[in-house]
Symmetry: C3
């Protein structure tokens, strides 16, 4: 089969001029207009297999110029079935809904954009994915700052070069680095300086595994296999997590003893659990200030959150503009430092787990407590609240489910005891 | 011509001992004293063309030892005319004036140093370049922290290895990385993780362009071609920017459709414009605090700015020592985060544009507003100023040109109306 | 001798099956259980020299499974004498005592752990090394966040791959990067973007030296040769520093003129001295607040420091959890920014010396002063203290040795003069 394909390729590449596979005129003009595209196509497996321009782009040039003939996964899927299926089963296929767009109430929002999440005239999102269309942002920032990565949902050329079919390119961790880097999820950086990554660089892929080795085993395009938490670092329920853990352990076992892989991943779980506890401690401080009306500005005094309105938001839809200073400190702790700690642990990178992650979280907590003390003192509520204020605060905590009915009663009793 | 040169090289390299091209004794002694220099020279195009030590260093050994026989662009230019001309036309040639030295009022300032910017006995700078001789710093920090990069103005060996003529070295982006990196202008880092940079690393220079491809087209040493803003990110006037834009678009068109390049660069312009607006918002807050006398310490309470005296400075000469906390927050926003946002956008790097840049700017603004609120409250000026204070504030804004005559009248009327 | 070894290797590799060198059954089972280990061993110099599993691991399989047959330096030393001796003479051999473990008062502390620093039943540390067993941390964070690097003391496989004997791997700077990176000591990053590092990447090791060139000359495993300060950046006494300086200068002289190397390293010394002065200025501010009882929380109001009790600690044992905000600012300044400044200078990296280091230190100082002003004002002690408070403060400074007896008298006199 492979031989046959090779023969076909040789025949295709030698017996016919390449331009025979392109609609008349494409090559001649595009050698001048988009020279790199033509060069790369000519060297591609597509060209060698006789797949010309029109197969992917169609023949309606006006449509192409209007940007309406984009080569999305719909174009690629008929030939690359397995890859497309894997991709659609992975989190990569959710990226569009999760991150597409960051504009808020701007006149420049284009009419058709809403369709990504909503049916015509329907305000409910048509899919369960969260929508991050939250920030005051221009369409240009949306394009480069959001869509550039989040278009991976339907754009195969997020990873694959547009006209090159080079596997060398797409199997290189650099291909992943473009998006999986930076303060919020430096997977590329933490792999690069882990034992796996450093061995990869000094001794090659067979000794030091790369992104693809563990996250795209045997070329699978389902990059979510083996993950036991969501993209925000919240652990999956055990019954969802367990089968994924087994998948990853099988990959570990290709090099390591099964007990070794198990121990390494369980260490990651433990680091995640303790880090999450620290994060929750900080979150409670922010909520208490909100209950006391001490955030500055309070949610009611600033532009509304587009999903939740004039309320404090500290979940995955948390904003990082127009909030109070302490919320911004919590944003850093959650989105940057918590992510580094746990992803660092699962990637066996000591510096990311500890210094970039855990140590920063500990210092974030110091900063958050200091700011909370300042805010309380400012309004004269420190060191003590009035009994009435304390009772209101306890009620709010109970309403939010932070206190159980029992805890609520007990705390209330203590306050009443004090003022008696 | 090229053949002739090659022949000459072969003859030179084979028929004569290399030391024949060096002044008697140089090689013998320097093989022991500076072994790497000799090894690299022996393998260099210079050695092969019969260019020995004395051609660049002269023959006065005492002068060399006193550091007075430095091999600057003056030595290189007679043979490398085009490169030197290009370089002198570029911003690289301004680097000396813009950054040379960071010492302030220190006894260790060497007498001759002033000549870089001033004529003997003349306090006015002899060139239009800004002078950053501002910080309390030792000559040693000046050397490694400032001059190491800023000496590029006249030192060809900032990029070219001293004795090696290897083009491989100097055409490598690593050659640029030494200076074009770090918190204030991470061009190397943002290129490295852009599509261009990642393709360069996985598929080579012909697929993924590097610094030199776009900024030194066809080997030009004018690295400023195609830039439409100054080094602080302030847009050039349209009539200066337009011809530069055209130059860059021509480079884009070597691979991409002209419409594509245009759109990409215009997206960068838009990101720059919106980021500049955010920066200006923060700057106005700092100035208002200055007008209200609420900076802590106020400019009059701290060492004077060497150019502007006891005044607030937020332009390119802004200091990052002995200022108030809010100014230091603004410094980070302007010098680090604004730079990352716009340079990230022009280099098509989503993580630098958004997370390292835009998101940080938004959080800087939160921090600056929080600090402003604290400072106002501290002096009891929040939530309201007295009418008299407000009128003084408006006057200062008018004097600074922040308010037009009309706006000033209108605002003044409003205050007077209120107190009537 | 070398020929003989080669012959032996060839004979070993060709005439006998490799499994002959392993205890019966090891290979057969471990090809399935730990495939990478077997592959790497088969290609190793060990395998070629007939050194099988049992030589390093022993034959007690139960012991191995209980983790009690670890291959530490004790196993390697008998064959690799020189390397082991060098290593034990270096700071690498102190890593265990300096960093092992970060758990504090946790029930999960294992009984045997104490033995690393203490004799049975003896609270005094048996060696002079400092013990960092300070933080509230789980054993899992301790493993990945602390021990992963600090186990270098006795674990040769911190740098050498476990079963591969590839010199290519272990001579690669990536091998060092795993630990010598990150916010607290980014030696790898600063080398990578220094002139040495960039030349290494574009022109190879013979032109651009790497970690090993200067810190492991001629393969020496004493990585501390040539260092003139301790790992916290405190200069060694002259009589200890001088012979180390001479060692490093000899290495510089392999490429550079002796005067050049001397000047470069002395510049590093000067940068270190001025940075240390800036650090001390900040430290004095923190101590003054402590003397005034203005830290929030004060040491007495928070969990005790495990070594020093309810006291302020700003030395190498300084914590970064449960402290006040200003101490955490000082921690960043000392542990991150001071380290970057001085290590950047010694590695000739302008961006790390200045922007990542010196500029951050200057801004840290602004932040620390601003926070000090806030804390003083908060308690109404700003702008002036009462005479009594000032006298108490002076007494505390005198007791701590910050003021000499003369200075103390003079300052006291001034205060008394004022209130007269």
């Amino acid at each position: 089969m492979k031989l046959f394909a090779t023969l076909l390729t040789i025949i295709a590449a030698t017996s016919l001029p390449l331009s025979a596979f392109a609609a008349p005129g494409c090559i001649e003009c595009h050698e001048k207009e988009t020279p790199a595209a033509v060069v790369q196509w000519k060297e591609s497996a597509h060209a060698k297999a006789g797949i010309g321009c029109e197969k992917c782009h169609g023949t309606d040039h006006d449509k192409m110029l209007r940007g309406e003939a984009k080569v999305t996964i719909k174009v690629c899927a008929p030939c690359h079935k397995k890859a497309a299926e894997d991709h659609l089963a992975s989190r990569h296929s959710l990226a569009l809904q999760a991150g597409w767009g960051c504009t808020r109430k701007l006149p420049s929002r284009k009419p058709g954009e809403c369709r990504f999440c909503h049916r015509e005239g329907d305000e409910t999102a048509k899919i369960k994915a969260q929508c991050a269309r939250f920030l005051k942002q221009s369409p240009e920032m949306q394009e480069i700052g959001c869509n550039y990565c989040h278009s991976v949902a339907t754009a195969c050329d997020s990873c694959h070069s547009k006209h090159s079919t080079s596997l060398k390119i797409v199997r290189d961790p650099n291909s992943c680095a473009k998006c999986h880097m930076g303060p919020d999820h430096p997977q590329w950086e933490m792999w690069q300086t882990s034992l796996h990554g450093t061995l990869n660089q000094s001794a090659g892929r067979s000794v030091g595994p790369d992104c693809q080795t563990c996250h795209m085993p045997r070329g699978s395009h389902n990059v979510s296999g083996g993950l036991t938490m969501n993209s925000g670092g919240v652990p999956s329920p055990a019954k969802e997590a367990e089968p994924e853990r087994q998948k990853m352990l099988k990959i570990c076992a290709e090099c390591h003893a099964p007990t070794f892989g198990k121990k390494e991943l369980e260490r990651g779980d433990a680091v995640r659990a303790q880090s999450l506890a620290m994060l929750k401690e900080a979150e409670r401080i922010v909520w208490e200030l909100n209950d006391l009306g001490l955030l500055d500005p309070m949610p009611a005094q600033r532009p509304e959150h587009p999903l939740s309105g004039a309320k404090l938001v500290t979940d995955a839809q948390m904003l990082y503009e127009d909030t109070s200073h302490i919320e911004r400190l919590f944003f850093k702790m959650k989105k940057y430092d918590y992510a580094r700690t746990i992803k660092g642990a699962y990637h066996q990178n000591p510096a990311y787990t500890h210094w970039y992650g855990n140590a920063e979280m500990k210092m974030d907590l110091i900063d958050i407590k200091a700011e909370a003390a300042r805010l309380k003192e400012r309004k004269g509520t420190a060191p003590t609240l009035t009994a009435e204020e304390e009772l209101t605060l306890l009620k709010k905590k109970f309403d939010r489910g932070v206190l159980s009915a029992e805890q609520y009663s007990a705390e209330k009793a203590k306050v009443l005891e004090r003022v008696k």
